[in-house]
């Protein structure tokens, strides 16, 4: 029983990652693909933050009377990763907009037919 609770976070993270990946692969619409990528990445962020948590600890900001802090390093890494994520999202969505104006559609099955077979 304790195994379930101790690993619950990890498993949920895995499920979320897989949902994100599934959306990326199956989505026909490019915007939805970007949403899927974001879900996938957020799940990874959750994995990092989960490992930084110490039960009974507090946020890593120095305070009187606190001896146990959670680990600040994963927080720093994920701050960086979130920024990377939004940067990718912005570039991806601008590509979607350009694709829309160039092809008139952002549904994958529709524009792939017009494209030369690579």
């Amino acid at each position: 029983m304790s195994l379930i609770f101790e690993h619950f976070n990890h498993w949920v993270v895995v499920i979320l990652m897989m949902i994100g990946l599934y959306i990326v692969i199956t989505a026909n619409n490019l915007v939805k693909k970007v949403v899927g990528l974001n879900i996938f990445q957020s799940a990874v962020f959750l994995m990092y933050i989960t490992m930084g948590k110490v039960v009974g600890g507090t946020a890593p900001i120095l305070a009187e009377g606190v001896t146990q802090y959670s680990n600040p390093l994963p927080h720093v890494l994920i701050l960086t990763a979130i920024v990377v994520g939004v940067a990718t999202t912005a570039v991806g969505l601008s590509l979607v907009l350009r694709i829309k104006s160039a092809y008139g559609t952002i549904e994958e099955n529709e524009f792939q037919n017009k494209e030369d077979v690579i």
């Binding site: 976070n9 895995v14 990946l21 890593p60 890494l77 701050l79 920024v83």
Partner: protein, 327 residues
């Protein structure tokens, strides 16, 4: 008790994400994604990552959602039927998921203080950073000093995104070239009054977050996003034309590299003083003072770049929406 909250939030996350798979209405998808981000942020708070929660809320639920909404405003809000092979996707997902689950059985248990993660590198940050760097917020210390080069890279990533978006969508022209069409929510008197009250407050809050990040949650990145959000709100309620009149896209385009250069210049000054790149100890006679100066300046650099890039990206997207509306 926190475990219970944790479990409920996780369950809600899964439900939200699962729902997104099946919904074909993109507007709902984007809204659910915003909710997903907020849930993530709430979860980060329960996991003690307040800085991360702050960023996730402002970026994931804020900027990303706004960008996605402006995209679907142009591309339409319906996803058509998917023709992809779902068995292939299911196979890949099961394979990857299986590998991950296999990996989890060996993972250190959740939240124990003697996990390897907490033992090797992290104790130094927790124990000595308040004296070495002199800041109570350890996240800021690690972010800006110990791993300052990562943060420099992060600022450059934001800048790279701006280069990408500007070259793809173009930087908006001068205000005079714009279409005369008056946009904005002229009908919404209440909204405009409230926006007028809250915009100065938001900017004030951004400044607080910028300069108080050493002591509490916050820092250049969050502050930049919040400040950009104030101008985005202005553009949405009072028309893009007016917002462009206040902060022009050209100005934004030239401001973005300035932040990166400001960050780099701190490192170069360290080099001139004979130390390694981004070594703040040599910036003042007393190393702790030097750390403080260095961190304030680099956070300012981050704030400037993030603010200008986020606003610039919004202008680029909003310009596209405007163009689409005219056609």
């Amino acid at each position: 008790m926190t475990v219970l909250i944790d479990l409920i939030l996780l369950a809600m996350l899964v439900i939200t994400a699962f729902r997104i798979i099946y919904i074909k209405d993109l507007f709902s998808v984007v809204m659910l994604f915003g909710i997903y981000s907020f849930l993530c942020a709430a979860l980060f708070v329960t996991l003690d990552a307040v800085d991360v929660a702050f960023t996730e809320a402002s970026v994931g639920a804020g900027i990303s959602t706004v960008l996605m909404l402006s995209t679907i405003a142009i591309t339409g809000r319906k996803e058509k039927l998917s023709l992809h092979s779902h068995t292939f996707a299911t196979l890949i997902v099961l394979l990857t998921g299986g590998a991950l689950i296999y990996g989890t059985f060996d993972m250190p248990l959740f939240g124990l203080a003697d996990n390897p993660v907490h033992e090797h590198v992290a104790p130094r940050y927790i124990e000595t950073s308040p004296t070495e760097i002199g800041l109570p917020n350890m996240v800021t210390s690690v972010l800006a000093s110990y791993r300052g080069f990562d943060t420099f890279g992060e600022t450059v990533v934001v800048f790279a995104a701006a280069i990408g978006v500007f070259s793809l969508l173009g930087v908006r022209g001068k205000p005079t070239e714009l279409l005369a069409q008056e946009q904005g929510l002229t009908q919404h008197k209440v909204l405009r009054v409230v926006a007028k009250i809250s915009i100065p407050l938001i900017i004030l809050f951004a400044l607080y977050v910028q300069f108080h990040g050493d002591f509490g949650p916050g820092g250049g990145f969050q502050a930049g996003v919040i400040a950009a959000a104030a101008f985005i709100l202005y553009a949405l309620t009072f028309s893009l034309r007016k917002a462009v009149g206040v902060v022009s896209p050209r100005f934004v385009k030239y401001l973005a590299p300035v932040g990166v250069l400001l960050y780099a210049s701190v490192g170069l000054v360290s080099m001139l003083n004979g130390a390694n790149f981004l070594d703040y100890n040599v910036l003042a006679a007393d190393p702790v003072d030097g750390q403080h100066y260095g961190i304030i300046i680099i956070e300012l650099g981050v704030g400037i770049t993030v603010f200008s890039v986020m606003l610039g990206i919004f202008y680029a997207f909003a310009g596209q929406v405007e163009k689409a509306n005219v056609q």
